[in-house]
Symmetry: C2
Subunit: 350 residues, 2 copies
């Protein structure tokens, strides 16, 4: 269940997908584990400035292949994309083969277990590299009983109006702000990127459906005696593909407070064009109602993702959302998570 990733000179593999929607794994690694990354591997973007693809990130070289990156002595290749369905994009295979031939290790958050791929497994054995499939949970077979309600630590969950809006980032920024404020705060990773960043956790979307909420209970118990925990949200209650995982997470951790995350301008569930998002106030009420039979948790603030917007438009968008919902709102990346944390603390009385 707990994955340890000891690498300090990683290459982020995005092959042809750098800067696209799918490369959020790589972008988050660059943001939260920059010190352990030596470059990006992407023959399509090679030689360009990383800022062109990933605004706000600087001075990371982009290489076309392993040979080019060799002088930086990389120790692992981390697959920096999260495609729908979770299979290895075919264009990435040659880089993995080359990396394993050179004795490097592979870190993957795909559903498809790379350790079960005969060619890759053989190469790892021959050359001494390891294959880390961080989405493989190991044996998980507990049915949730609502036990999360008993933790000493107060529980805060980030929830979203859609997938890929910034729930992990919001939880990480909240934890950062809480630690800075002197709280004994933990981050609970529930997805592959969160695990890669934090070094432990569980990819709950890869658990058998009956045991997802139980797995969340087990995660929460790891930090039960801390003061406060920020649990990384998954999916969205209105998304036809992922809503079950979202609800299992909600009932598995029974949050005292929720922070809603919304990406300004998102009209439909991402790439599900025929599934429009319900309005923010409707979604907020829905999360609270569906939790209510078990626990009286409330949405206490809105984290607004304004990435790519000019400063004045971003501020206006945040103000508009605060007015629409009647809740404190802020973009935790642009403005810091302090206003969101303050709303959480006020609600919890800590």
């Amino acid at each position: 269940m707990i994955h340890a990733l000891p690498y300090r000179r990683m290459l982020i593999l995005t092959e042809g997908l750098l800067g696209t929607f799918s490369s959020k794994t790589g972008t988050s690694m660059l943001r939260y584990r920059r010190q352990d990354i030596v470059g990006v591997l992407d023959s399509v973007s090679a030689g360009t400035d990383i800022q062109a693809s990933c605004p706000g990130i600087r001075d990371v070289p982009i290489f076309a292949d392993l040979a080019e990156a060799e002088p930086l002595r990389p120790d692992a290749v981390l697959i920096g994309v999260a495609p729908v369905g979770g299979e290895l994009p075919p264009a990435m295979r040659r880089h993995l083969v080359e990396a394993l031939r050179r004795g490097l290790s592979i870190v993957s958050g795909l559903h498809q277990p790379l350790g079960a791929d005969p060619e890759l497994a053989d190469l790892a054995r021959m050359h001494g590299g390891r294959i880390h499939d961080v989405r493989q949970p190991g044996p998980i077979d507990r049915v949730a009983r609502g036990l999360a309600r008993r933790t000493r630590a107060r529980r805060v969950l980030t929830v979203g109006t859609d997938c890929a809006v910034g729930k992990m980032v919001t939880a990480l920024e909240l934890r950062r702000a809480a630690v800075a404020a002197g709280l004994d705060a933990a981050f609970v990773a529930t997805g592959q990127t969160g695990i890669m960043i934090e070094g432990w956790g569980l990819a709950i979307d890869h658990v058998l459906a009956d045991f997802v909420a139980g797995a969340v209970e087990q995660l929460v118990e790891q930090v039960a005696d801390r003061q406060i925990m920020f649990v990384e949200g998954q999916g969205s209650i209105g998304h036809p593909g992922y809503s079950g995982v979202t609800l299992s997470l909600l009932h598995g951790c029974c949050p005292d407070a929720m922070v809603m995350v919304h990406h300004v301008g998102r009209q439909c569930h991402s790439r599900w064009e025929d599934c429009p998002l319900a309005p923010l106030p409707v979604q907020i009420e829905l999360y609270e109602r569906v939790l209510a039979p078990l626990h009286p948790g409330k949405v206490v603030a809105v984290a607004v993702n304004t990435v790519g917007m000019p400063e004045d438009q971003a501020s206006a968008a945040v103000r508009a959302i605060a007015a629409e919902t009647g809740l404190p709102a802020a973009d935790p990346v642009r403005q810091g998570a302090e206003p969101l944390l303050e709303a959480v603390r006020r609600h919890l009385g800590i």
Copy 2:
């Protein structure tokens, strides 16, 4: 994905659990596939009258062991219980070993795959029996897109105030009533007992969480061109352990109409004593609200499970629930599913 079970002389194994909560699988087989069953295997209840344990079921012999049942020439042993967690109750193993030694096959709906048990697998190979793990779905890797909304067939889902209230039975009785009324009606099995009864389907609680709703879409597509389908519900929206599966099923099949199933007198989620049930009207509204962002399905009737109650009390309970919810209500086993079907047809205009 489609399981075929050709057995016509099955023994239902309940070893020590006949008549308990856990033996609902066996009881349903006795109710809906009686013609293919020669007896029950349970050394604790052996020799007693089946009516004492399973009211309404008659003339099924209960045997202490395989040797006793031999004269009836059984062809398979079906595990007739659904324990929490889905592991094989230890007391059952000796019966399975004995059955396989005699060349019989095993039908199991447990999470634990019996085909992967070395002793049992060896015995099956040696003596020619087969092991059917009907909960093992095979490769399932589709993320739902809300495509169920496009079927020609109208979609009806049974939903519940709790687990084990009668959602499968209600769907089966609705299908029976619909066929009797001349409709081209299908039953969609989503759990192990439903699959055993119907001969095809998928145990959706044993699918990786991200793919549950997608698996439901695939099931629904099997009968997309029929006139109406009755989809077997799973779990309950307020149950901390199973709510994720429930929501995936709801969003995966996007029902036009729902029939709520409630067991009279159930106060808490079964064996989850610290999780009280929300009132019926609250639950009805919750199912509709959580579906609404995707599809405008409504709860149109309540199936009331009054098993074990005297006739007058049962009638009073059904009337009380109709008054509380403002919806047509009936016990589909005691009174027939016709009043429920009528409500469905009125809502759908068919």
